[in-house]
């Protein structure tokens, strides 16, 4: 909602020239999503401050602009009108666009000179002070951060997720504005518009120069694009053509691939021709197994229609004869389902931990008793291994939706009880780097009739 820019030194009123906004006059700007105002709280020789404040109507955000066919993207109760976010970036570009390009016909020399500037950004979403310093300090700023309690009345709710941050440095005004333009939405992490390839150009034009040498370049680009992989990759490639810029954390990548490789091999070894992938997620297993001549039919099943759409999109890219092997159904491991019958093999890859433990007996019956395939492959995290993940606080689970994560003993006890009840035999192994004491990150049970 608010940022201020302060120029300290001599004849600081010249900030008005640099910004192309008269210090003696408050001004109003129409934006597509509301209004912006520029005014000067302080104008002296030694020190001049310009403020940019936005007026965004939360009802418009929720319902869409009056008489517009578009409905809003946000809820009525929303921090968007009050924080610094992508709306602010757009406003900066609109209101200070010329200054951002480094142009100033009347004082071009001043525009080209690093001067003592301080930017204050109010209510910027940023969970960690350290992150803010890591990002801004390499750009030459002295960083000052204020962070209050989320709610003074309820201290147990902890600290605020927003900071007021001041950045003080000797920089060109255009540089400062471009830093803000890119980094405000990076921290906020929630863009108000659809991100597409044209965003790459925008990023390069505002950050092409300084991003190249920033030690957290990849982090910034990834965050700026809300972690959208393809766009991030394209931007990073253009920023540094010579370097390989694989940005996924290598550890995670390898585990995922290794899991697919291992499971696919077990499926093939079991002799299965037909496979039910229950809780299929984004369809990686279908994509992999469809390529195997041994496999004639794969059914991708998930409770979430949206996810099935993603799986379908992945499978669409396969050659026709592979695509034809794959079906998609909305289904649940907690419902009896005739469509589950007559498969040779059923996959439950990283699924059980998403189900409340007390409801697992239902899954057992649905799968092992009623569907009763010859082979069932279950994988789930090994909780013991979690202490290897430095970013995972003790006792926390790997994913927000995980209802439990089992250690090896718990998993094998469960597997044995299933075998006893439904007449299967199980073999349990690990997937991923074995840690001597803690086992592998993923545990896999292969149940055979």
């Amino acid at each position: 909602m608010l940022i201020t820019i302060t120029y300290e030194g001599k004849n600081t009123q010249e900030l008005g020239y640099l910004l192309h906004k008269n210090p003696n006059s408050a001004q109003e700007f129409e934006l597509t999503f509301g209004k912006a105002y520029v005014f000067y709280p302080e104008v002296t020789n030694k020190r001049t401050t310009a403020a940019l404040v936005l007026d965004i109507n939360s009802v418009d955000l929720a319902k869409g602009k009056e008489n517009s066919p578009n409905t809003g993207l946000f809820t009525y109760v929303n921090d968007r009108p009050y924080t610094c976010n992508s709306f602010m970036s757009v406003a900066l570009n609109r209101v200070f666009g010329t200054a951002m390009k480094g142009r100033c016909d009347k004082k071009q020399e001043l525009a080209d000179t690093p001067i003592d500037l301080t930017a204050a950004v109010y209510m910027l979403r940023c969970e960690s002070d350290e992150d803010a310093r890591n990002i801004f300090e390499p750009l030459g700023y002295e960083v000052n951060i204020e962070r209050g309690m989320l709610d003074e009345r309820f201290h147990e709710w902890g600290k605020s997720p927003y900071i007021n941050i001041t950045l003080k440095g000797k920089v060109r005004l255009a540089e400062l504005l471009n830093h803000l333009y890119v980094l405000i939405p990076f921290f906020d992490g929630n863009k108000h518009y659809y991100i597409d390839d044209s965003e790459v150009e925008k990023l390069l034009s505002h950050g092409g120069e300084w991003l190249k040498n920033h030690p957290y370049r990849e982090t910034i680009v990834r965050g700026y694009f809300n972690n959208i992989h393809s766009i991030t990759k394209s931007a990073l490639t253009q920023l540094a053509d010579d370097e390989d810029s694989e940005n996924d954390s290598p550890k995670h990548k390898r585990l995922d691939t290794e899991r697919i490789d291992t499971v696919a091999q077990v499926v093939l070894d079991s002799g299965a021709k037909t496979v039910l992938d229950l809780g299929c997620g984004e369809g990686k297993y279908a994509a992999r197994l469809a390529a195997e001549p041994q496999i004639v039919r794969i059914t991708e099943a998930d409770v979430a229609v949206k996810i099935l759409g993603a799986a379908k999109a992945r499978v669409e890219k396969l050659p026709q004869f592979q695509r034809d092997k794959v079906d998609f159904i909305q289904a649940s491991a907690l419902c009896r389902d005739r469509r589950f019958e007559s498969y040779d093999c059923c996959l439950l890859i990283e699924v059980i931990e998403h189900i409340d433990e007390e409801r697992l007996p239902v899954l057992e019956r649905v799968l092992f008793e009623f569907a009763h395939p010859k082979t069932v492959i279950v994988t789930t995290p090994n909780a013991e291994y979690n202490s290897n993940y430095q970013f995972l606080p003790d006792g926390e689970l790997r994913h927000d939706d995980h209802r439990f994560e089992w250690n090896r003993e718990k998993f094998s006890k469960w597997a044995e009880s299933v075998c006893e009840k439904y007449g299967y035999k199980v073999k349990i192994t690990g997937i991923g780097n074995e840690d001597g004491n803690l086992g592998a990150p993923t545990q896999m049970g292969v149940f055979e009739l």
Binding site: M1, L2, T4, N24, S25, A26, Q27, Y37, F39, Y40, P41, E42, T49, A51, V53, D55, N57, S58, V59, A62, K63, E66, T75, Y76, V77, N78, D79, P81, Y82, T83, Y122, M123, G148, L150, D151, R153, F154, E156, W157, S160, P161, V303, A304, V305, K306, L308, K312, Q330, S332, L334, C335, R336, D337, R338, R339, E358, R359, R365, V366, D401
Partner: protein, 846 residues
Amino acid sequence: MRIEIPQLALITLVGASASGKTTFAHKYFKDTEVLSSDFFRGMIGDDENDQSVTNEAFELLFKAADMRLTLGRSAVIDATNLQKNPRKNILDLAKKQNVHAVAIVLDIPLKTLIERNAQRGDRECSEGVLRRHCEQLHSSIRILKKEGFRYVYVVSENDIDNVEIVRTKLWNDKREESGPFDIIGDVHGCFDELAELLDRLGYMKNDEGIYAHPEGRKAVFLGDLCDRGNRNTDVLKAVMSMVKSGNAIAVPGNHDVKLVKYLLGKNVRTENGLDTTIAEIDNETPEFRKEVCDFLDGLVSHYVFDEGRLVVSHAGIKPEYIGRASAAVRDFCIFGDVDGRVEEDGMPVRKDWAADYRGKAVIVYGHTPVGEVRNRNNTYCIDTGCVFGGILTALRYPEMTTVSVAAKEVYSEPARPFAVSDTADDIPVAEELLGKLRIETELIPSITVQEENTAAAFEVMSRFSADPRWLIYLPPTMSPCETSEEPDYLEYPTEAFAYYRKNGIRNVVCEKKHMGSRAVVVLCRNAETAKKRFRVDDGSRGMIYTRTGRRFFDDRNTENALLDRLDKVLDKSGFWNDFDTDWVCLDAELMPWSEKAQVLIKEQYAATGHAAVHSLDTVMKELFKAYERDKDANTEHSVSTETLVYKYGSKQRAAEGFYKAYGNYCWKVTSVDDIRIAPFHILACEGSVFTDKPHKWHMDNIEKYITGIDNIFMMTEHIYVDTEDYESVTAGINWWKGLTGKGGEGMVVKPEFYTAFNGKKLLQPAVKCRGREYLRIIYGAEYLSRENLPRLKKRSLKRKRDLALKEFALGVEGLKRFVKNEPLYRINQCAFGVLAMESEPTDPRL
């Protein structure tokens, strides 16, 4: 000529071209019963004689016949059917549909055929064709029976105009008999127990020593009369005499079938108790043995009684077999749902057909010993394992009560424990939830749930819902009152009172709206009741769940503590006794709001409040500086800082209002004692759903039985308003002002009676009227601003009200079905319907 045909049958005409089949068919059968190959040729090929579309025409004809039979309607196939192949298709269909195939042969001399053929002009056949037809006909007549036609009638030229078709009932059709019956489970030679049971049921031996009931009740024996017990022949004697004298009806069991084989001298294995019967029966006379053999062999696999409302068989029956006759039907009725697979102990794997049964007819059967009568989806298994030391049970129909006698000894050790693994009927079936759903309720006859909503609810239910066995009720959404005409208010009580007054409701109750979270409490007196009544056997005694069917508390200790304390209260107040129940379902509000909505409050409300208050404080500080400068500078502005001060000043006050508003509903919970539960409906308990009571009854009973004993359970402040009395209405408005002025959420206005109608139109069960400050939490801090309020006032309530009514009907329906002990899938359907109504539609086509 008299032609007898079972009421449901697949009838086929056999006859040469020009033999008058079509005329015959339409003369003696309903036009709609007759499926003529010519007709289908014409339908798809525009020419009844176009032989090139014959295959397609027959495909369609058979499809039509198949559908008719599925719907329980006979079909008459009007085609030549002179060759084996087309007849084979007919027989296959009859077999698939488990109906008898009937052939009616029209035996017309060649001479007549030639004459008639000549008159047909447009569709003449050559004489050669007619001659061949006649030859085929005559060679067919002899083999029709052998092919599998149950009844074959040959109609000669002389008879053709004097045929009488008589539709006969199948043996299993006893629809006209409505009882009363005493249905008795597997006796297995336990004569002493049987005698005692008959005695308890009121049967007495008549002069001939035959058991008969003075009130004319009939006993129905479910088969397996012998084997394993100690008095097998005595049982046979008693039952045979009862059946023959019309005092009983019997169906055969697998043991009876085996005994017949033995008596016929066939080679049978004498294990599983047959040896005990053999030992006795071999000492009987050959006449008796023959009598037994004939009796058992003549038994009909199952019976349909009471206009189709009651079906009995030994091992149960699939719905598509009811009232049908075939080897497959007979085998199912006698041996159950088996497919040849065996368990490790050598016993056949019995599949759970009852779990999938969805019919309205009550099915009573035995065969599988169970610890106690097992009622699943309108089916009752009453073989309570007497011969294994269990009990011998009779189910009385139509009373649906049981009478039983304990075994006097263990006559045989069971091969496996007959506590019997649980059935599958408590697990929902995917295909019954996906796709478009239609749910019948008492309040709204038919509620349709669209496919995109069931798709969304399916995900929600699978991922987040609590164990569906507890979800006997989900509360409906609630509509606000119409938008207020008062300039500064979005909602105001006038409209709430007016809604009911205009709909003819004079008396309403206003209940304070507690700002917490809706909670449904289901409580059983103990885990035993939970198991028996809710079929939850994990040791829990109840559940507190949210309006979307999620468990309220992740922490089981909190839930248990609250349930225990509620139980103590109900015990102390005498509720359990006075209501004569061992479970109860309450509709309540649970506070504080922050207890359930913690994450939401922190991430959305508190975050927005914090950002708004702090941003606006700074904006105002900076603006004041600019404003101070302006006063001296005296310059031209495109917008004056004064305007901005005013503008952002009002935003700042709005933000503060918002910050205050949500804070009211949060407090820190350190123990169960900090939680508050305010019940406002006593929804149901054993035998009763209280949706027919006035709200005053609910409030009075809550006050009497639930509040005032333990601080956790608190009363809901309420007043009664007469909507036609000005003073009363004014008092209501002032009461609301008092509540909301202090920052309260507002009130809920309900009609005097729980369910209210205006004529036939179901009325909203409640409308809410929320406070001016409180609404900031809903519509955002600045909703009252000049640009926003007029826009928000344009809201339409129609969709919300429509949903509220449907969800209300579904909620009440769920309770009623539960109280009536309806099948679990019928109860779950209601909660699922509410979930679907409340879910964001998802396109199921991906």
